[in-house]
């Protein structure tokens, strides 16, 4: 289960989502600017007040950390 906590205009979020789509990986996109509960959840999980945050089966990745995300999802380029 992959969740991405994002905001609509954030370029890193766009890059991250494009990257996952290019590798045919499904994810749930949560707009935290429109969902206060989800924002709380994001801050609690990650200790972060910044987007994007990705939750990959409970592993939290902060920002567009391509190497870590690729490793967790077995993406090789």
């Amino acid at each position: 289960m992959i969740k991405i906590y994002s905001t609509p205009a954030c370029p890193y979020c766009v890059t991250l989502k494009t990257f996952l789509k290019e590798h045919n990986i499904e994810f749930e996109d949560i707009d935290v600017s429109a969902d206060a509960k989800a924002l709380d959840e994001m801050v609690k999980k990650s200790g972060q007040m910044g987007v994007p945050v990705t939750d990959i089966d409970g592993e939290i990745v902060v920002g567009f950390d391509k190497n870590k995300i690729s490793r967790l999802l077995n993406i090789s380029e």
């Binding site: 609509p8 766009v14 935290v32 600017s33 924002l39 972060q48 007040m49 910044g50 920002g63 391509k66």
Partner: protein, 306 residues
């Protein structure tokens, strides 16, 4: 793989360089931490010819889409650690220690937000301290925040924040704000914004998340503390040139000195383009054009050394 050209940077200069190099059939690698550079983090763009109005991130998506139509190798999400000269050409070492080699280099690494360099700032990045207002402003609904910098980008950030935050302090080091009067009027009219001038930010405090900001009132010398959950740093940009060392000359502000005719640097085979250079006027259309110039000059250079 020994490339003809390695381009460092994925903003308007780097992308345009890539397009021109690919059209010249140069065997090219483009390395970037992220596409779009400063433009992606900006607000509206209304001065790019042919496009009346767009958002920075949308314009950059179009640039990237155009680039990817060509046969060019791309490494995205990578930071360059070192650039060295070798017997055969140049080597680029990435932060993950991967080594890449080429005959020529174009540096188009642009600029990064200037940090405040005060205690607590680095530790609280992503925990309330942010340099990307367009990313993070929506996270501060009904919270109190401070914007550091009273120039146009600071005031635009504050204006964007009026949609979300409860209270916004704009902190300016000088005795007056440099940003547009019209934006200042809008900020005053919002009733949410307090403008503080003659204020030197001294410390950012917080345990797990940001809790407050300490500044010195430069007139009275008094230290004051503001309870805020967010700090938006908008005090300009610095060239991303730390990895280059002595292959090029820098001016006083750390920009690469280039020959404005052909974008060459003091090292044959190393060219530079866009905001990382000492060229006047940091504009998208200028960065793109500089990238084109650098690519064409590199092509010339490669033809000569053959």
């Amino acid at each position: 793989m020994f490339y003809d050209l390695i381009i460092i940077g994925g903003g308007p200069a780097g992308i345009t360089t890539g397009i021109y190099a690919a059209r010249k059939k140069l065997n090219t690698l483009l390395i970037t931490k992220e596409f779009g550079g400063q433009v992606s983090k900006g607000h509206e763009i209304t001065n790019y010819p042919g496009i009346t109005m767009t958002m920075g991130v949308e314009l950059m998506e179009k640039f990237v889409e155009h680039l990817k139509k060509f046969d060019i190798e791309i490494k995205e999400g990578k930071n360059v650690r070192e650039l060295n000269k070798t017997n055969k050409g140049f080597e680029v070492i990435l932060e993950d220690r991967e080594k890449l080699e080429s005959k020529t280099i174009i540096i188009a690494s642009g600029k990064n937000p200037r940090p405040l360099k005060v205690p607590g700032e680095e530790r609280l990045v992503g925990k309330g301290v942010t340099y990307c207002s367009i990313c993070d402003a929506p996270l501060f609904k009904e919270k109190d925040v401070a914007v550091i910098g009273g120039g146009n980008s600071g005031l635009d950030t504050a204006l964007d924040l009026t949609k979300y935050a409860n209270k916004i302090y704009v902190i300016e080091f000088m005795d007056k704000l440099l940003g547009d009067e019209s934006t200042q009027e809008k900020l005053k009219a919002s009733g949410k914004v307090e403008l503080i001038t003659n204020a030197a930010t001294k410390e950012i405090k917080g345990d797990k998340l940001l809790e407050s900001l300490v500044y010195e009132d430069k007139k009275s010398g008094e230290m004051k503390e503001l309870k805020v959950q967010g700090v938006f740093v908008e005090i300009g940009y610095v060239p991303s040139s730390g990895f280059i060392k002595d292959l090029v000359e820098f001016n006083k502000v750390g920009e690469i000195i280039i020959n404005p005719k052909d974008n060459s640097t003091k090292t044959p085979g190393v060219f530079a383009a866009g905001d990382v250079t000492d060229i006047f006027y940091k504009q998208i259309v200028i960065a793109a054009a500089e990238g084109a110039k650098a690519a064409l000059s590199t092509y010339e250079y490669l033809t000569k050394i053959k």
